[in-house]
């Protein structure tokens, strides 16, 4: 996909340029109760560079598939709602130009 001048692309398009071997088991789990009850700012929705966290009604929707394994959500979550580990068995993102 071409990134022509001045045309912005969506994050999903950017993530699709990567090579992935997505695990069937999530390596991160989120305690949605905490997100809904305790968190009003929900900065994970802006700071997760892969856009894994999205707003839904009064809570959070999380999908681990596009995770870039950076660890940002683990440390910016003020309510410890994120249980975080690396994927197993070499799964996840496969950087070629990292």
């Amino acid at each position: 996909m071409s990134v022509q001048a001045l045309k912005k692309i969506k994050i999903t398009e950017a993530l699709n340029t990567n090579i992935w071997d997505v695990d069937s088991r999530p390596h991160i789990t989120v305690d949605y109760e905490k997100c809904r009850k305790l968190c009003d700012k929900k900065i994970c929705t802006l700071l997760c560079p892969a856009g894994c966290y999205t707003l839904s009604d009064d809570g959070i929707l999380f999908s681990y598939e596009g995770c870039l394994e950076c660890g940002t959500c683990r440390i910016v979550c003020p309510h410890e709602a994120v249980k975080w580990d690396y994927p197993l068995s070499g799964r996840g993102v496969q950087y070629r130009f990292g």
Binding site: V3, Q4, A14, L15, L46, P49
Partner: protein
């Protein structure tokens, strides 16, 4: 499953620059080493900005310059303040170069290959979950319940120090200790890269940009040229980002890519990869209290060994060299027949004698200065404004002092500007 038989002298956690450099040096000296890497291949989980300083690596790997997957030697250094589409730029060109651009995935892969050729065993696809201890002494690692024993463990797990945290050797990582880096790798014709950046074949550019390039977050943007790609990215300090972020970080980067002059410079480019990684920013202030304990040495990002000077970043050479020094430590401890903390304490001494701790100490003050939002917003605005007044002449032109006085009106005082600039110069 860990299908590894036998007893090893050393287990290394992570086949990044630090881990592989430790493994290579140890293997070359006859040690039985196994490196456990969570990625499918060594390097597949590594990501950084784009430039490496060469000298320390040449010391570790004698054939480095001849064999390593170097993209371009950085001959053009550029530092810009950008406000809107206006840039005020300082550029340094030299035919000599001490740094090069490279893909860290490939460079780390090459280092692991060197370690393997020297006799180390690289086990990929395996995540290390914990350290294995006997009576409080580290004696190996645990992965999915399996134990792999060794005389000593080198922890090169990277910036997310899950293993050290689990063991209580470091507290949980905090936003103020790290920055978030995001990077787009954009394929562009080799000739276009050279024409657009004024480069000869094999010459590279390293470009740092501050100003309104990071959506108002303290941090900066970077651009590096590889042979047939350009890396465009930004780094934002995470603590400040937590407080100030208004827009998704990817969209902030896209704003930059699609704004002048980048939209022209990168025209016809094709995105081939988008990645993100945390980067240690607190240096010695985030290092484990002890970089060694009984049977354990901590190297690379896990130890906080990264230097951000504002106009350049050094991480890979620090990581690799710390791995090299850890290997030297182990060689010496082995000759003493023991891997207790007291035998491994020479690691601290070697680090202090090397450039690593000296550089980190010397630049400790910068970390604080780099976080002031004035530096990233107010000052670029002032300086770009001054430049506009000086260079965009219609009929009459102001003096430099007049321009500065006008440009700082309502923003800061001349005195405070001078004091801040002096403190920055002194810290650098």
């Amino acid at each position: 499953m860990l299908n590894i038989v036998g007893k090893f002298d050393v287990v290394v956690v992570g086949a990044g620059p630090a881990g592989s450099s430790a493994a290579y040096t140890l293997s070359k000296n006859g040690f039985k080493v196994v490196v456990i890497e969570r990625g499918r291949t060594a390097g597949s989980k590594n990501l950084y900005g784009g430039r490496v300083y060469s000298k320390p690596l040449e010391e570790i790997y004698p054939e480095f310059k001849r064999e390593a997957p170097i993209e371009r030697w950085v001959k053009r250094e550029r530092f810009s303040m950008m406000v809107g589409g206006e840039l005020l730029t300082l550029e340094y060109y030299s035919r000599n170069s001490t740094s090069f651009t490279a893909y860290l995935s490939r460079l780390a892969g090459w280092m692991a290959q060197k370690a393997e050729e020297a006799g180390a065993i690289i086990v990929t696809d395996v995540r290390v979950d914990d350290l294995y201890t006997e009576d409080g002494i580290v004696k190996g690692i645990v992965s999915s319940g399996d134990v792999l024993k060794a005389d000593v463990v080198v922890d090169a797990e990277g910036v997310n120090r899950l293993i050290l945290e689990r063991h209580g050797l470091v507290p949980k990582l905090l936003p103020r200790q790290v920055a978030l880096g995001v990077k787009e790798t954009i394929r562009l014709d080799k000739q276009k890269i050279e024409d657009r950046f004024g480069l000869l074949p094999e010459e590279g550019l390293a470009w740092f940009i501050i100003g309104n390039v990071t959506g108002g977050l303290p941090g900066g943007a970077f651009l590096y040229t590889n042979t047939t790609t350009v890396s465009l990215g930004m780094v934002v300090f995470l603590e400040e980002a937590c407080k100030k972020v208004q827009k998704h970080v990817f969209d902030i980067l896209e704003d930059l890519r699609t704004s002048q002059p980048f939209s022209d410079i990168l025209k016809d480019g094709v995105l081939v990869e988008y990645g993100a990684h945390l980067t240690p920013e607190a240096g010695l202030d985030m290092a484990p209290k002890k970089l060694y304990t009984d049977g354990l040495l901590v190297v690379g990002d896990a130890a906080g060994f990264l230097l951000n000077l504002g106009y350049t970043v050094r991480g890979v050479d620090f990581a690799a060299y710390s791995g090299y020094l850890a290997a030297k430590t182990i060689i010496k401890a082995h000759s003493e027949g023991n891997f207790k903390a007291e035998n491994l304490s020479v690691y601290q001494k070697l680090l202090e004698e090397s450039f690593i701790i000296r550089e980190l100490r010397r630049h400790r003050k910068i970390a604080k200065l780099l976080r002031s939002s004035e530096l990233f917003t107010t000052y670029p605005e002032i300086f770009v404004d001054v430049a506009r007044k000086l260079f965009n002449i219609e009929y009459t032109s102001p003096t430099l002092l007049q321009s500065i006085r006008e440009s700082i009106k309502g923003k800061t005082s001349l005195l405070s500007l001078i004091v801040k600039m002096l403190s920055l110069v002194r810290a650098l």
